[in-house]
């Protein structure tokens, strides 16, 4: 009897298991079959090969290189100690550190843990040779951006990084996936869509480690377009070295074409820290630096132009016929308004326009400013590009700022004569970027033909002509001749403020500037000018943030031009 019951129970158990097997395999079979397919088929995105960036002479500024990452798959670790001892020997990292990293990053038994990124080719080969001994090891090959010249053109180039969570929304619909590499800042950002290759993909069959077993299908990624810049990396290098780490910027552009030859900003950074895991640690210091190494001061920094602003002032005076070149004002060293004295650098005595430009006499321009009035000054300032975007092909350009009485009154603020006087010598609210100033000098040299500054030369070998347009200012040619005479005297006259830049065999002209900054800090130093060499004509702007007097900028300018001449660049 009891045996029969046992038999019944056993039959029931077997029937139960069989029914469940039927349910799992026959009724739900399709569902599980699909899951098993999901398990083994992966689509591995292949990064498009990002286009390279070269300078005008074909020197590579940004390219891709093969990089090796080392991963360990937890469930395939046979013996912990020998594995980590082996890795310690190969990678030169203490096994304790590796173990810690392993423990911190371990997610699941089958998910590979990345232990070292960007290891050398030699090490990668050694590890791959030992994979048979340590099946948990896996060397993954990826392409990584790198910048052979390091800091040379950091601000112009920008860098690449994975799309971050905040910006992914902006990119959707343009074929970006969350793991895409995207350009940040500089050319990498501005021409991202050209540089970026189209992502391809592999459909592969994987095993439990996610390791490829066989290839099912492939869609080749496409290569992005190569970009050639107008930058000359040699001039760029000279600019960088003459700046010597001082806070500031040097911009130089070709007067005839508007091509930017050099755009240095300091302090700078090595863009490789964003792409090379070995240099990752430097990132924090750069991002925390209060001096703002990431800022491209040439286009993103707007500063009081100081006496450089006297150039548009002079144009306003002559064009509106408030003065003639022979009009003189006496400079006693100050200008009295009520009880306030507006100072001048020296007691210049009687000055005509040429001398006033060459000596940078404030009193002359105070007088002129009073004759012109703030609206006229602002009008001519804007005419020469201050407060207006240059339209250069770099992201985050700032327009600078120029204001007048009307603007102030509209904004509910008072305007005094003192404001007009401050404005006349480029102080007060007026702000300009070094690029704007350089462009202004280029326009002066070309007698009012305003070029479009740009940094792109060709894309995939096709010359970009988009920026080859000019705009002509409606001013008399004779006015330009007069002002250019004053600018030349600044450099050529021994009493001129820019005499440091005088070179017998190179025509240099320009205007200095010393802009007062906040109380207790050194003034900004400016020199903006043009040099007409045998090789090319260039306009340039040297700006030193809190750099002291303009003579500091002049010294740098002289070094810059001298070294360029030595290297046959001008």
């Amino acid at each position: 009897m009891r045996l029969k019951i046992i038999r019944v129970i056993i039959i029931a158990l077997f029937v139960g298991v069989t029914l469940h097997l039927f349910y799992a395999q026959v009724i739900r079979g399709k569902y599980y079959h699909r899951l098993s397919a999901y398990n083994r088929i992966r689509v591995v995105p292949l990064d498009g090969w990002r286009g390279s960036i070269k300078d005008r002479n074909g020197v590579i500024l940004a390219d891709n290189k093969l990089s090796y990452d080392l991963s360990v798959t937890p469930q395939d670790i046979n013996d912990v100690e020998p594995l980590f001892d082996f890795l310690e020997n190969v990678l030169d990292i203490p096994s304790r550190e590796l173990k810690l990293k392993y423990q911190q990053n371990r997610e699941a038994p089958f998910a590979p843990v990345v232990l070292a990124e960007g290891i050398s080719r030699e090490k990668a080969i050694v590890i791959e040779e030992n994979e048979y001994k340590f099946p948990a090891l896996w060397v993954q090959k990826t392409f990584r951006r790198y910048y052979p010249l390091g800091s040379n053109s950091a601000h112009v180039l920008g860098y690449v990084d994975r799309v971050n969570e905040e910006t992914i929304d902006n990119f959707q619909g343009y074929g970006y996936s969350p793991r895409s590499l995207v350009g940040y800042l500089g050319i990498e950002e501005y021409y991202d869509r050209e540089l970026r290759g189209e992502e391809g993909g592999l459909q592969i069959e994987v095993n439990n480690r996610g390791k490829q077993v066989r290839l099912l299908s492939i869609k080749d990624p496409s290569k992005g377009k190569d970009i050639e810049l107008t930058i000359d990396s040699d001039i760029q290098n000279i600019s960088r070295e003459t700046l010597g780490g001082r806070q500031g910027a040097i911009v130089m552009l070709d007067i005839d074409s508007g091509e930017i030859l050099s755009m240095a900003s300091s302090p700078d950074y090595d863009p490789n820290i964003f792409v090379d895991p070995a240099l990752k640690k430097g990132k924090v210091d750069i991002l925390r630096d209060v001096r703002g190494p990431m800022v491209n001061r040439s286009v993103r920094g707007a500063y009081a132009p100081g006496s450089v602003f006297k150039v548009p002032m002079a144009f306003a005076g002559l064009d509106l016929k408030k003065i003639a070149t022979y009009t003189t004002f006496n400079c006693p060293g100050f200008y009295q308004v009520g009880e306030t004295q507006f100072g001048c650098s020296h007691v210049h005595g009687v000055q005509d326009l040429f001398n006033a430009i060459a000596h940078s006499c404030n009193v002359y321009f105070f007088n002129l400013g009073k004759l012109l009035g703030s609206e006229a000054i602002a009008y001519y300032g804007r005419m020469f590009g201050i407060g207006r975007l240059t339209g250069v092909d770099l992201p985050y350009e700032r327009p600078g700022y120029i204001s007048d009485k009307k603007g102030h009154v509209t904004a509910g603020k008072n305007w005094f004569l003192g404001d007009t006087l401050n404005m006349s010598i480029g102080q007060g609210d007026t702000l300009a970027t070094p690029l704007q100033i350089a462009r202004m000098l280029a326009t002066v040299e070309r007698d009012g033909v305003e070029v479009q500054p740009h940094i792109i030369k060709s894309i995939n070998g096709v010359v970009v002509t988009k920026y080859n347009f000019t705009r002509t200012l409606k001013l008399n040619k004779s006015i330009f001749d007069d002002i250019k005479k004053g600018l030349r005297m600044t450099v050529s006259e021994p009493t001129g403020t820019g005499y440091d830049l005088y070179m017998p065999d190179l025509y240099v002209a320009g205007k200095t500037g010393t802009a007062q900054t906040v109380r207790g800090r050194e003034p900004h130093a400016w020199f903006a000018g043009y040099a007409l060499g045998k090789e090319r004509k260039v306009a340039f702007c040297i700006f030193l943030e809190f750099g002291g007097g303009s003579e500091n900028a002049c010294i740098i300018g002289r070094q810059l031009l001298t070294r360029m001449r030595e290297q046959g660049k001008i």
Partner: protein
């Protein structure tokens, strides 16, 4: 009829072993994680198992009646030793090295317990005694003492920790107690007490055992950890559908998604590659074997023989049902092998010895 049963046992156990080798060959095929050596190992043990079955079928099973307590005592001692030496080594060690061969006393304990309970119950009169003291005496003799015999190795195995084998020992005890005609009211009260003791068991469980039980209830609470095995195994079995994906074509198997697939989870390989038809073939083979055991028990006249046969039939049935059930996600993962199919020397040999007993019992009936 006798001959018939003997042949049935031979045919179906060999069928199962061959089918197991077919599955294991695929599980170890071209693979670094589970080396092919395992397959050849198992092949050798299949031959040894057949020899053991043949040898035991010619040795009178009643000889083991005399050795029952000795075997049991030695086995319990070994469990102790494993626990002690296991402490010295890392984590849970269930193995024992004897002359270079690893030996798992917990697997063998199933057989030892069948023998000892078989002998214990067969040498007790089952006459019901009246009166309060009589009842107490009865309970003590027929429930408490055999329970103690069971619970000592059970706790030792549970400590290893090996929940599955411990459960199987309890199953053996229940089956043999049941077949010896213990009144239902005693059995059910005993089971009631066991249920009440469950919270205590929970407290004794290791964390990973608790988490396995919890994951069994909802595998998705930990899909990457404890739940990974069960999810992958369910997918493997289910994706086999009616006809299976074919030999060597199981993607879950060949691509390494199945952990422990050469031992406890071998059925997931078979289910994936041979489908419902393959699965039902294997289950039927096992059922025939178990059924043969029960029909022997029907005919055997000595109580020791009945107890041993029922114990063997019950343990085979339980192992098959629990193993296949856990692979399909019906039960929690408790670490029970599929007899004659899973890789594992001690498990394999223990099953062979049990089948040897059955073969011998099916012969002996002619003398009765």
């Amino acid at each position: 009829m006798n001959k018939n049963v003997t042949i049935r046992i031979w045919v179906f156990s060999i069928l199962i072993m061959l089918f197991g080798l077919v599955g294991l060959y695929s599980a170890t095929f071209n693979n670094t994680r589970v080396p092919q050596k395992i397959f050849y190992d198992q092949m050798m043990f299949t031959l040894i198992a057949v020899l053991i079955m043949w040898a035991l079928s010619n040795i009178d099973y009643r000889k083991f009646f005399d050795f029952a307590y000795v075997v049991y005592g030695a086995n319990v001692l070994m469990l102790f030793l494993v626990l002690l030496t296991g402490r010295n080594a890392l984590g849970a060690t269930r193995w024992f090295e004897i002359a270079g061969f690893s030996f798992q006393p917990s697997e063998f304990m199933k057989l030892s317990l069948i023998l000892v309970l078989g002998r214990y119950y067969s040498s007790r009169s089952s006459n019901y005694m009246f009166g309060f003291y009589g009842r107490i005496h009865y309970i003590f003799q027929f429930i408490v003492v055999p329970f103690l015999l069971t619970v000592v190795p059970m706790l030792l195995i549970f400590k290893q920790p090996d929940l599955g084998t411990a459960i199987l020992l309890f199953g053996i005890f229940l089956a043999i107690m049941f077949v010896n005609g213990i009144p239902y009211r005693f059995m059910f009260s005993f089971l009631g007490i066991c249920v009440l003791a469950m919270p205590v068991m929970w407290m004794l469980m290791k964390d990973y055992q608790k988490s396995r039980l919890l994951v069994f209830l909802n595998p998705n609470i930990d899909p990457l950890g404890s739940g990974y095995t069960i999810i992958q195994s369910k997918i493997a079995v289910g994706s086999g559908q009616l006809f299976g994906k074919g030999w060597f074509a199981g993607t879950q198997n060949q691509l390494n998604f199945l952990p422990e697939r050469h031992t406890d989870f071998i059925f997931s390989v078979i289910g994936e590659e041979w489908g419902f038809l393959g699965g039902i073939f294997l289950i039927t083979c096992f059922f025939v074997l178990v059924h043969a055991g029960l029909s022997i028990a029907d005919k055997v006249t000595d109580k020791f023989g009945v107890n041993v046969t029922v114990g063997i039939a019950a343990i085979l049935a339980l192992q098959v049902v629990i193993n296949i059930g856990m692979v399909m996600g019906m039960f929690p993962i408790v670490g029970i092998t599929l007899p004659l199919v899973s890789y594992g020397r001690t498990s394999f040999l223990t099953t062979a010895i049990m089948l040897g007993f059955l073969l011998n019992l099916s012969r002996k009936r002619s003398f009765q």
